[in-house]
């Protein structure tokens, strides 16, 4: 616990602090970049992009070894991964455009084939003398162990750059995500914006390779934006909420992973993001599971209350236990089922309003008003007082109800 707190407050060493900050920046960048992907309904394209980085890593290593380098330079490996990710992305677009295969088939084909090719290259590298210690497998699941200062700098700097670009392009990207046709009509080059969006996704993937690994970076792109979507319906808010959620997952995950052995960074970050998602799924207002259950129960209670009151107006016995419970809780009937004065008054009002609606339907041909009758909306919310007075004049004097 103490180790975790140390890491959380950046006291666990210079490298760990840099990694935590880098992870937070990466999470922020991934959350925001992923939001546009999610809104464009292309979330899983990132899966293809991420898996397509693997052959690039292998080729970059082989090339660097061939030209006499050590082969482990992170910048070089990331450059290679970016190139092959771009090739993968281009292939997905090309297959979906030029052939009759759908985009999901293209995504699956590219991700499995590139990944297979990458694995072949990895086995080639493992047979090289120099390849054994290369630790390229770390790119599969991410690892911060043995990370050099300059590696952490690359991650932190790259994350900051991605966030800056997203900030600059947030308006055109929002427009393109929601209404590409309108965006094009206002003079925005939608192809270029789409390209920029995918470029950002690629940048996040490449930066995240070392930290989260290529299999799980997809999670960081998808989960925060889906989570943020539960909390708000406004794009800007979804965008920054997703960024903050991603940053929180990245930061806490990196700190947690630094505080104990056997806690690989990538899975921890993803699981924290998934935990936030699960909480949101359950407890978010309006869209969460709990909110849905509560609003269903409220609706149910309103229907039962009205049915009960209607039964009172006709002096019919009530058998439904839920109806009885609701009426008794509100003091509208006595325990023996006889209505109280308040119950009688409310029942009379409901009966009167029903007759007012009948008149309203005869008077008003306007279905946009009378169509709002659902038995639950009070008539006072639909018609003005003078109109209701007019209905009452046609109804005649009050009559006693409810026995």
């Amino acid at each position: 616990m103490a180790a975790f707190l140390d890491a959380l407050f950046l006291q666990a060493g210079y490298n760990a602090a840099l990694v935590a900050i880098g992870a937070a920046l990466l999470g922020f960048a991934a959350g925001t970049a992923g939001t546009f992907l999610f809104l464009r309904k292309r979330a899983l394209v990132s899966d293809a992009v991420a898996h397509a980085t693997l052959p690039g890593v292998g080729i970059a290593f082989l090339v660097m070894v061939a030209i006499g380098g050590e082969g482990r330079s992170l910048a070089g490996l990331l450059l290679g991964s970016a190139l092959s990710a771009f090739a993968g992305l281009w292939l997905v677009e090309w297959i979906a455009r030029a052939t009759r295969l759908s985009e999901d088939a293209a995504i699956g084909a590219v991700l499995s084939v590139f990944f297979g090719l990458g694995v072949v290259l990895l086995t080639v590298i493992q047979t090289l003398d120099r390849g054994r210690q290369a630790g390229l497998e770390d790119f599969l699941l991410g690892s911060t162990a043995g990370m050099l200062l300059q590696d952490a700098m690359i991650i932190a700097g790259g994350g900051a750059a991605v966030v800056a670009v997203i900030w600059a392009l947030r308006r055109p990207m929002t427009l393109v995500a929601f209404d590409p046709g309108y965006a094009a009509a206002t003079g925005i080059d939608t192809r270029r914006i789409d390209l920029a969006m995918m470029g950002l996704v690629m940048a996040v993937t490449v930066i995240g390779l070392k930290l989260v690994g290529l299999i799980l970076i997809v999670a960081l792109l998808i989960i925060p934006s889906v989570t943020a979507r539960f909390w708000t319906d406004r794009v800007e808010r979804v965008l920054w909420t997703a960024g903050l959620l991603g940053a929180a997952a990245g930061y806490v995950g990196a700190a947690l992973s630094a505080s104990a052995p056997d806690l690989p960074t990538g899975p921890i970050i993803v699981l924290i993001a998934a935990g936030l998602f699960a909480l949101s799924l359950l407890f978010a207002p309006a869209r969460g599971v709990l909110a849905a259950i509560l609003s269903r129960r409220r609706f149910q209670a309103r229907v039962h209350r009205r049915q009960g009151l209607l039964a009172l107006t006709r002096a019919e016995p009530i058998h439904d236990p839920l109806t009885i419970r609701i009426l008794r809780r509100e003091g509208l009937i006595r325990p023996d089922g006889v209505p109280t004065d308040e119950g009688r008054a409310l029942a009379a009002k409901i009966a009167r309003d029903e007759r007012r609606w009948d008149i309203a339907r005869q008077v008003h041909q306007d279905t946009s008003l009378t169509g709002r009758y659902d038995g639950l909306t009070p008539i006072e919310e639909v018609f003005a007082p003078d109109e209701i007075a007019d209905f009452d004049a046609r109804l005649g004097p009050p009559q006693p109800v409810g026995g």
């Binding site: 999610f38 309904k41 292309r42 979330a43 899983l44 990132s46 899966d47 297959i95 030029a98 052939t99 009759r100 295969l101 759908s102 999901d104 088939a105 995504i107 699956g108 084909a109 991700l111 499995s112 084939v113 590139f114 990944f115 297979g116 090719l117 990458g118 694995v119 072949v120 990895l122 086995t123 080639v124 047979t127 497998e137 599969l140 699941l141 299999i215 799980l216 997809v218 999670a219 998808i222 989960i223 934006s225 889906v226 979507r229 539960f230 056997d262 806690l263 690989p264 990538g266 899975p267 921890i268 993803v270 699981l271 993001a273 998934a274 998602f277 799924l281 869209r287 599971v289 849905a292």
Partner: protein, 309 residues
């Protein structure tokens, strides 16, 4: 093509072929229904399934592994559906959330638990161990095929994979008409009284069975590649579903055999000493086949779309 081939290459090639066919068959329908990535999702969640099964039973025996993987696949499908409906999230994103989260959980469990003494790690899960499924007892070469003692020492994966492939093939034949109808015209299928949702769920379960059975022997790369690449390539070659399915089986077989041979012998021909990953090579070969189909397949374009549009 002597004793050595039978000992070291015959069984992996057969296992790879059966796995490829078992995955390619349901893949045909998944692709036509635009559910191609279900295979991807299932093969990711298989990992937490087998890890949990291992932690509960303490063994890497086949049955608990299969049950665990199957259970995880079922949990994943239910979760995806629940998130899609409750949260009103588009299916792609819901799938992305579920399979990445479950996979991360599997990796973490694996790192936390003591699995070093058994052959269970992430790389194995991804790449399989096709190369190790050899038939050492086959000392007499092809004659061993008639030798009951040697046959008793076939790797367990071979009969298991053969049964899985036969089961999937039988299911495909039995449910051919309802599958075809509900895939191409769901409304019509519903109108004539077919249980369309049950057929869809059954297809996903069959895909899960294929993925789980194949995963153990060949790893998840082959599973994903075989779900998608051979059927997709076949789809670009023909307009007839029956021909597409046959072609996909052919492509799957070709990928498995050529991939294994290239991985095992290709480096030797080029003058290197070591073989490369067979699983990776099989996926790569299937990708090359798909690439050729994309470039030259007679039915590669959408109907009604002008060339170059």
């Amino acid at each position: 093509m002597g004793a050595e081939f039978v000992q070291f290459s015959l069984t992996p090639i057969l296992i790879g072929t059966f796995a490829a066919i078992a995955c390619a068959l349901p893949g045909n329908f998944l692709i036509l229904r635009r559910q191609a990535l279900i295979g991807d999702a299932i093969s990711h969640v298989v990992l937490p399934g087998i890890v949990v099964a291992f932690l509960l039973t303490g063994t890497v025996a086949a049955l608990p592994m299969l049950l665990g993987a199957g259970g995880a696949a079922l949990v994943a499908v239910v979760l995806i559906e629940a998130i899609r409906r409750v949260g009103r999230i588009e299916p792609g994103a819901a799938m992305g959330v579920v399979f990445t989260a479950l996979f991360a959980g599997g990796v973490l469990l694996l790192e936390q638990s003591d699995t070093s003494r058994v052959h269970l790690d992430v790389e194995h899960a991804l790449m399989g161990n096709l190369e190790t499924l050899i038939w050492l007892r086959a000392g007499d070469g092809w004659a061993s095929l008639a030798d009951p003692v040697a046959l008793a020492h076939l790797p367990d994966e071979l009969p298991r994979m053969a049964v899985a492939a036969a089961l999937i093939a039988a299911l495909t034949v039995i449910f051919w008409r309802p599958l075809k109808l509900s895939t191409f015209d769901e409304g019509f299928a519903r109108a004539i009284g077919l249980p369309v949702s049950a057929i869809g769920l059954g297809l996903v379960i069959a895909a899960a069975v294929a993925a789980v059975a194949a995963f153990d022997a060949v790893g998840s790369i082959i599973v994903i590649a075989m779900f998608i690449c051979p059927p997709a390539a076949a789809r670009l070659m023909t307009n007839s579903l029956a021909r597409q399915v046959w072609l996909s089986v052919g492509f799957a077989t070709l990928s498995a055999v050529a991939g294994y041979v290239l991985a095992g012998y290709g480096p030797l021909w080029l003058g290197f000493d070591n073989a490369v990953s067979a699983a990776g090579m099989i996926a790569t070969v299937s990708g090359v086949i798909l690439g050729l189909a994309c470039l030259f397949g007679p039915h590669r374009r959408r109907v009604g779309v002008a060339a170059g549009a």
